[in-house]
Structure formats: structure tokens, C-alpha cells
């Protein structure tokens, strides 16, 4: 799984951080998403998929390559 985030689209809802704190964080200065792990291990895939599907700004994209 390859995770990418779009900082410009992020609205700082924080759902991704609550669901997968090992993969996502928010910047202190503006609440915008920070990607901690672009290639999370398999056990986290389900929760990362959930984070992507509930992101209100559709700022998280998932690819299966690399």
C-alpha cells in the first residue's frame, strides 16, 4: 500500500489521526495532515482504508504499488 496526502485539500478534520495515529498526524501550526508512514505495514491497511474513505476533504489517496 502506498499512501499520499493532499495538503492543499486537507480541512483538518483529524479523523485520520484518530483512526491511524501511526500513519497520520496534524501540524501544530495549522492542523494540516502530516503523513508519517507512506508505506504502512499490512496490519494497518484496513484502518488506513477507513481513514481515506471517511476523510471529508478526500485528501488521502491510496495506491497498491511500490
Amino acid at each position: 500500500m502506498k499512501v499520499t496526502v493532499d495538503e492543499a485539500m486537507c480541512c483538518g478534520a483529524g479523523q485520520c489521526v484518530l483512526l491511524a495515529p501511526d500513519v497520520f498526524d496534524q501540524r501544530d501550526e495549522d492542523g494540516v495532515v502530516v503523513l508519517l508512514d507512506a508505506a504502512p505495514p499490512e496490519p494497518l491497511h484496513a484502518v488506513v482504508r477507513e481513514a481515506a474513505s471517511v476523510c471529508p476533504a478526500a485528501a488521502i489517496s491510496l495506491g497498491e504499488g511500490a
Binding site: G12, A13, G14, Q15, Q26, G31, R49, S53
Partner: protein, 406 residues
């Protein structure tokens, strides 16, 4: 659809036979009339969207603006103004584009998931105290008045650094902004002047003597370009947060408890498995059939939605709650599934304007549900669910009261 049906104009908001049940029209509209003509309390017409994909598309598309003050935009409330959607408070803050994003990020930093998680112990402590007082007074009790209302008001006052003791004033100002039918324009204008002048006083006091609160931090804060918020923006922000922190979560606490107690098997399942609290809160948000007005948007160019071409000058009302019951988006949409995952409901909206305080609302709802399950596992409705009554005429939907015993 026959010609006569397509010409029929529904009155909006649509009423419902039972407080916790959705109006029967939602299903018919999603099915047969995804872009429906409706008449607002002002008498002006708008187009109502009820399908998940359409609501999501419109709220994510910047061509659908929040400029409800535009000439030609439908007026929302009975007195002809837009209430909260179109008052001086709303128009003080940037409503779209880069200006909005700059404002959003300056304020959004105080509402991150981590900051909200840090508030949770304090929120639970307050919820515990309110439950103590409710238990002391004995049952039956009104959960809305005892817990649902005071908790979020205390949280937002504490966060902003405004005195909780002024809450009666806030409740009045908030009500005049959010009520669609009850007040005259003169009453609304007077309340808004008072509210703005109160908040200006609070901003001036923090500027002179900063505290550890959000208002003080916003005054001191700067954005990436070194610019801070103007005084007018600070006042508008403080007012917006206070109003947003008032009715929405307060009513949602009552509705959530009402939904979970109306079918007590749901409550018992939570008592038995507290690990469901997070997903149960999300499901209550999705399932809420009485969320209030929905989100209006104004279109100044032609756009296609749900197979219909909307002309420039159209005002659209997005019913997130109708969308949240769309069978094409949610399996078993008409049932509460406390473990539903993922649950991409639209209760907080989507896109760049989705609710700024959603992490706070989630934290409060999870905290209050955890405390209730721990303290009052025997909680039940003190009246049959069909006797629960809705608050009418507010932008935000709620129950008048939630009588409970334990």
C-alpha cells in the same frame, strides 16, 4: 414522474410524524425526485438534494458558494433574512477561496484531534459532575436539560475563555440566530448588535490581559504570512464558535441518547461492549433523522447535479441527513449498526467547509456516552419513544426534552 407531481412544491423543512423517524418523503425524493423544488420559510424557492452522491458533490464543489446574501439567492427564514446563514456575523468572515482557507487554518490549529483528545479527561469529569447532580435530583429527569445542554456550553466557554456564568445571554443570542420563525428582524438585529458588542469587549479584555484561552491565542496568533486576524474577524470567530458549540452538540447528545434508548437492545449492546462507543457515535450521527435545516448553497453559473441542469441563480439545500439514509451509499441504511465501518456519513458536511469543530463534537459525544454507560447502565426512556417531541423552527434539530430514569 407525472407532470403534476413534478410541479408540486414541498414546504421545507419537511415535517416528520415521529421525532426520531425520518420524513417518509426522503425515500421518495431520493428515488424519484433527487432535485426537488421546495418552498423555504421565507416563501422563496430552492432545490433540495437528498442523494448521497449529489450532496457530496455539491458540498465539495466551490462553484456552489456560501454567498446566501447574493441578490437572487433564496432567503431562508420567515422574516426574510438568512438567520445564521446570512447575518453580519457570517459575512464578517471569509466565505470561500484562499481567504477562507487562511482563516480556517488559523482557527483549525486549535481543533486538532490531539488537542481535542487532551480535553477529554476534563470533559468526562464535567459530565460525571452533571450526572451526579442529575442523580441527586432523582428521576425521572430530563437528560437534555441536565447533561446534553450544559456540557457543550461549558466546554466551549472554557475553550474560548468566556465566563460560563453568561450562558443565559449566549443561549438567547444563539437562539435568535438559529431560529427560522420566531423572531422579528428587529429582534434579531438587536440581539446580534448586543452579541457582537459583548464579544468585542471580550477581545479587548484579552488583548489587554491575555489568558490561556483560545481567544487570547487567536489574538496572539499569526498565519504563515505573518498576518493575524483583524478585530472584526476575531469577534466573528468568537461568535461563530460560541453559537456552533451551543445548539449542535447539545441537541445531538439528547438525540443520540434517545436513539440508543428507543431500541434498548442497542443500549444493552453498548453496556456489554464499550469498545463500540466510537463507532456508535458515528452511527448516531449518520442515523440522526432530525438534524435541522441542512446546508444551503448559492450557484451563480450553470452546473449539472443528479441529472438536472441547475441554472445560475439557483439556491440549493443539501439534506445531509436524507443522504445519510441513502441505500446506495450505506448497506442497511434504515437500520442502526453500532459497529458500522467505514461510516463516511455527511453529518458534519464534506469539503473545505466541513465542520471545523467535528473533532471536538466527536470527543464530547464519546465522552458523554462513555460516562453514561459507566454511571447509569440501567438508563431508560421515562416515556414511550413515540411521545418524544421535536424542537421546531431551529436551524439545528433537537428534541424538546429527553425524559429518562435509571
Amino acid at each position: 414522474m407525472s407532470h403534476s407531481e413534478s410541479d408540486q412544491v414541498l414546504s421545507y423543512p419537511i415535517s416528520s410524524a415521529a421525532a426520531l423517524e425520518p420524513p417518509a418523503e426522503w425515500e421518495r425524493l431520493r428515488d424519484q425526485c433527487p432535485v426537488a423544488r421546495v418552498k423555504l420559510p421565507s416563501g422563496d424557492e430552492a432545490s433540495l438534494l437528498t442523494r448521497y452522491d449529489d450532496v457530496k458533490q455539491v458540498l465539495s464543489d466551490p462553484r456552489f458558494t456560501r454567498r446566501l446574501s447574493a441578490v437572487g439567492a433564496a432567503r431562508v427564514s420567515a422574516d426574510g433574512s438568512g438567520g445564521v446563514f446570512n447575518g453580519s456575523m457570517a459575512n464578517t468572515l471569509p466565505q470561500g477561496g484562499e481567504g477562507h482557507q487562511r482563516w480556517r487554518r488559523m482557527v483549525g490549529r486549535w481543533f486538532t484531534a490531539k488537542r481535542m483528545a487532551a480535553l477529554r479527561p476534563g470533559i468526562e469529569e464535567m459530565a460525571d459532575r452533571l450526572v451526579d447532580e442529575m442523580v441527586e435530583r432523582g428521576h425521572p429527569a430530563d437528560l437534555k436539560a441536565s447533561l446534553g445542554f450544559p456540557l457543550p456550553v461549558w466546554v466551549i466557554c472554557d475553550l474560548l475563555g468566556v465566563p460560563d456564568s453568561d450562558r443565559d445571554k449566549f443561549a438567547h443570542w444563539s437562539d435568535t440566530l438559529l431560529n427560522l420563525t420566531r423572531y422579528t428582524q428587529a429582534e434579531i438585529d438587536a440581539a446580534q448588535r448586543e452579541f457582537a458588542s459583548y464579544m468585542a469587549g471580550q477581545v479587548a479584555a484579552r488583548r489587554a490581559e491575555p489568558g490561556e484561552d483560545l481567544l487570547s491565542e487567536l489574538i496572539a496568533g499569526t498565519d504563515a504570512d505573518g498576518g493575524g486576524l483583524t478585530d472584526a474577524e476575531l469577534v466573528g470567530t468568537g461568535q461563530g464558535l460560541l453559537v456552533a458549540g451551543h445548539e449542535t452538540t447539545a441537541n445531538m447528545i439528547g438525540k443520540m441518547a434517545g436513539m440508543l434508548l428507543a431500541d434498548r437492545r442497542l443500549w444493552e449492546r453498548l453496556v456489554a461492549d464499550r469498545s463500540l462507543v466510537r463507532s456508535a457515535v458515528e452511527e448516531a450521527l449518520r442515523y440522526d433523522a432530525n438534524p435541522g435545516f441542512g446546508m444551503p448553497r448559492y450557484l451563480d453559473q450553470e452546473v449539472e447535479v443528479g441529472g438536472a441542469v441547475l441554472p445560475p441563480g439557483t439556491t440549493v439545500v443539501c439534506s445531509m441527513a436524507a443522504a445519510n439514509r441513502d441505500e446506495y451509499a450505506f448497506d442497511g441504511a434504515g437500520e442502526m449498526d453500532l459497529g458500522r465501518s467505514p461510516n463516511p456519513h455527511l453529518a458534519f458536511g464534506v469539503g473545505p467547509h466541513s465542520c471545523l469543530g467535528q473533532a471536538l463534537a466527536r470527543t464530547e459525544l464519546q465522552a458523554v456516552l462513555s460516562v453514561l454507560l459507566r454511571r447509569l447502565p440501567s438508563l431508560e426512556l421515562a416515556v414511550p419513544a413515540r411521545e418524544l417531541r421535536r424542537v421546531e423552527g431551529l436551524v439545528v434539530g433537537g428534541l424538546r426534552e429527553l425524559p429518562v430514569r435509571w
